[in-house]
C-alpha cells in the first residue's frame, strides 16, 4: 500500500523576506477583514545605522495612506511601536484579487513559493523608499 504524498501547502505570504542592505521582514500576523487580508511584518534592520539613517522615520516621510502601485495590493509602514523602535509594515491583499491570483497560479503553474511573492513585497518597500527619497 503506497503512502499518500503529503500535499504542499501554499503560503499566502512569505514568512521571511530578506531586504538587503536594509532589513529582514518577519511575518508576525495575518488579519482578515471583509475585503482584504493584511499581513503584518516586523522589519528588523541589519544594524542600528541603517535603522537610524533610513528606516526610523520612514513612516513620517511616506505618503499618507498606503503605497499601492500594483492593483490589488498595498503597503504601509507603521510608526515604531515602542521605545525600542520595533518597526512594522503591513502588506494588504484584496480578497478578490487574491482569489484570482490563486486560481491563476493553479491553472498556469507555480511561479513562486508563496501566493504573494517575496520579491513583490521587497520591491514595493524599495519603491516606497525611492518615493520618499530615503
Amino acid at each position: 500500500m503506497s503512502e499518500a504524498k503529503p500535499s504542499r501547502r501554499v503560503l499566502l505570504f512569505p514568512e521571511q523576506i530578506e531586504m538587503p542592505p536594509l532589513a529582514t521582514a518577519h511575518l508576525r500576523q495575518v488579519t482578515p477583514s471583509d475585503r482584504e487580508l493584511v499581513a503584518r511584518y516586523e522589519l528588523v534592520p541589519v544594524d542600528e545605522q541603517v535603522y537610524d539613517e533610513r528606516l526610523r522615520d520612514l513612516h513620517v516621510n511616506a505618503p499618507s495612506g498606503a503605497f499601492s502601485p500594483l492593483s490589488g495590493t498595498w503597503l504601509k509602514v507603521l510608526e515604531p511601536e515602542d521605545e525600542e523602535g520595533h518597526l512594522f509594515m503591513c502588506f494588504g491583499l484584496h480578497k478578490g484579487y487574491g482569489r484570482a491570483l490563486a486560481a491563476a497560479r493553479a491553472q498556469k503553474g507555480r511561479s513562486t513559493d508563496s501566493l504573494v511573492p517575496g520579491f513583490q513585497i521587497r520591491a514595493m518597500l524599495y519603491g516606497l523608499l525611492g518615493t520618499v527619497g530615503v
Partner: protein, 147 residues
C-alpha cells in the same frame, strides 16, 4: 475601453515616448492606458509615469523565466479581477510579451473581450502605421457599440 501596451518592448515604448503616445492617440477618445510589465503584470499608466523603483526587476533575485511565469499569473489574475470593468481591452503584443499574453488569456472568461494586436516582426520604415490604423478602427467601433 482599456489599452494595454508592452512596456519597454522597444525604444520609446514608455509613457511620454513618441511610440507609446502615438498608439494612445490612435483611440478616438482617451482610453484607460496600462502597460504590461514583467514580472508585475498590468500596471496603470500613471504609475509608469511616476517610474517608481520597483518597476525594474533586475536585482530582485529572480530569473527571467520566473519573472515571465509570475507575469503570466499576475496578468491572468488582473484580467479576471479588473478586466470586467472594461467594455473591451485592446493589447499590443510582441517579443517576449507574446507568449505571456497567450498563456494568460487562454481559458480566461475575458478572452472574447480582448483584441490582441501583434507587433510587426519586420517591415522597416513605418511598421507602426498599420497597427495604429487597426487600433483606431477597433477602438472606434468598440466605442460606438453598446455592450
Amino acid at each position: 475601453m482599456g489599452l494595454i501596451l508592452p512596456y519597454g518592448v522597444t525604444a520609446n515604448m514608455e509613457p511620454g515616448g513618441p511610440l507609446w503616445e502615438s498608439l494612445v492617440a490612435a483611440a478616438p477618445a482617451r482610453p484607460q492606458v496600462y502597460g504590461l510589465v514583467v514580472p508585475w503584470g498590468i500596471v496603470h499608466e500613471r504609475t509608469l509615469y511616476a517610474s517608481p523603483a520597483f518597476l525594474a526587476h533586475g536585482g530582485l533575485g529572480i530569473s527571467e523565466k520566473d519573472a515571465a511565469a509570475h507575469a503570466v499569473v499576475a496578468l491572468r489574475a488582473w484580467l479576471d479581477t479588473y478586466g470586467p470593468a472594461h467594455q473591451q481591452l485592446a493589447a499590443v503584443i510582441g517579443g517576449p510579451f507574446t507568449p505571456i499574453w497567450n498563456r494568460a488569456v487562454t481559458g480566461s472568461l475575458m478572452a472574447p473581450k480582448i483584441k490582441l494586436f501583434q507587433l510587426p516582426t519586420r517591415g522597416g520604415g513605418r511598421p507602426w502605421g498599420p497597427i495604429r490604423k487597426r487600433l483606431s478602427s477597433f477602438m472606434g467601433k468598440s466605442m460606438r457599440t453598446p455592450s
